[in-house]
């Protein structure tokens, strides 16, 4: 161990602020790189599942002539 106690570890010989700022930035970059793709994955998975549900609910039909303006399907946001 290069340090006598916890306080001197935090102090880093007077350079604590610099060392810990750097490590905080590194932690942020690591978190950014993990959380970004993780959220993107959830978004894509939800989008594909929604698309597949929509297709099974309404099997392939030819677009019909609409006389009235189309209403959004049940439970779907516009």
């Amino acid at each position: 161990m290069a340090f006598e106690d916890f306080a001197s570890f935090i102090a880093m010989g007077g350079h604590g602020l610099y060392v810990w700022t750097s490590y905080a930035v590194a932690a942020l970059v690591v978190i950014f790189n993990l959380v970004g793709p993780w959220r993107e994955k959830r978004r894509i998975q939800a989008s594909i599942s929604r698309q597949m549900r929509r297709e099974t609910a309404a099997p392939k039909t030819k677009p019909v002539q609409r006389s009235a303006p189309m209403k959004p399907a049940h439970g779907e946001s516009v």
């Binding site: 161990m1 570890f9 610099y18 793709p37 894509i44 594909i48």
Partner: protein, 244 residues
């Protein structure tokens, strides 16, 4: 030489399956190496006789600076492959590398600035090494922005590949900047041809950190590339099969 792997790489489905098998191992090994390397570097490596404890920033600064450049080279190679063989996976790899590389460039610049303050007495100088790294960041931002600048996806891909290839000229400039010009930045810590000037008690944790960060890059790169594959191939039967 057997080229089947290269043809297989053209298949997003094949890559999705193989990367899925690799991912758990990448996650575990990068987590272990980064933890061991950083704990060793922060707690057990001796202080530097000149810089005291501020040098401990090296354990994140050097890996991030290496990765910032390695990611760019990877993107340039992917750009060449995308242009020559029109391999769509290469184009997606180029796209997915950009935000990761940009984040590592920011990390290298910020940790460098924070390290510069107690060591050089200044956060920033327009030194050759630092300026070239800033240009690298602008290249990354340019590649990210360029993708959305074209209405046609194919034109965007081509433009990004060309920019990645042109910008690769900056990489040797970064590498040799500390030798070509009289810079404030210290010369390379690690050289392949010479015995390292660094004491092994500091060098070994640094090498472990670098290995850990490289594996971390592969992990998050695979995560992004797999997302891109799912998104682009969502109409194919094999992606549908994953969700049914």
């Amino acid at each position: 030489m057997n080229w089947t792997f290269f043809h297989k790489l053209g298949s997003p489905k094949w890559f999705y399956e193989i990367s899925g098998r690799w991912l758990p191992w990448l996650v575990i090994s990068s987590a272990i190496l980064m933890t061991v390397g950083l704990v060793w570097g922060l707690l057990f490596a001796p202080p530097d006789y000149l810089q005291g404890n501020s040098y401990r920033i090296i354990f994140i600064h050097v890996p991030s600076a290496f990765l910032a450049q390695a990611t760019y080279v990877m993107m340039a190679v992917a750009g060449a492959v995308a242009l020559i063989w029109r391999m769509k996976l290469a184009d997606w790899a180029l796209k997915c590398g950009a935000p990761i590389g940009a984040s590592f460039t920011v990390m290298a610049l910020v940790t460098g600035a924070v390290w510069g303050k107690p060591t050089w007495g200044t956060w920033w100088v327009w030194d050759a090494r630092l300026t070239a790294m800033l240009i690298l960041l602008f290249l990354y931002i340019g590649i990210i922005a360029l993708r959305d600048a074209f209405p046609s996806q194919q034109t965007a891909s081509k433009a990004c590949a060309i920019l990645a290839l042109v910008g690769v000229v900056n990489i040797p400039i970064i590498k040799f900047s500390v030798e070509w010009w009289n810079t404030l930045h210290q010369p390379a810590t690690l050289k392949l041809t010479e015995k390292p000037a660094m004491a092994p008690e500091m060098l070994i944790p640094l090498l472990i950190c670098m290995a850990g960060f490289y594996l971390f890059f592969l992990t998050v790169f695979f995560l992004r590339l797999r997302n891109e594959i799912l998104h682009r191939e969502q109409r194919t039967r094999w992606v549908r099969a994953l969700f049914s």
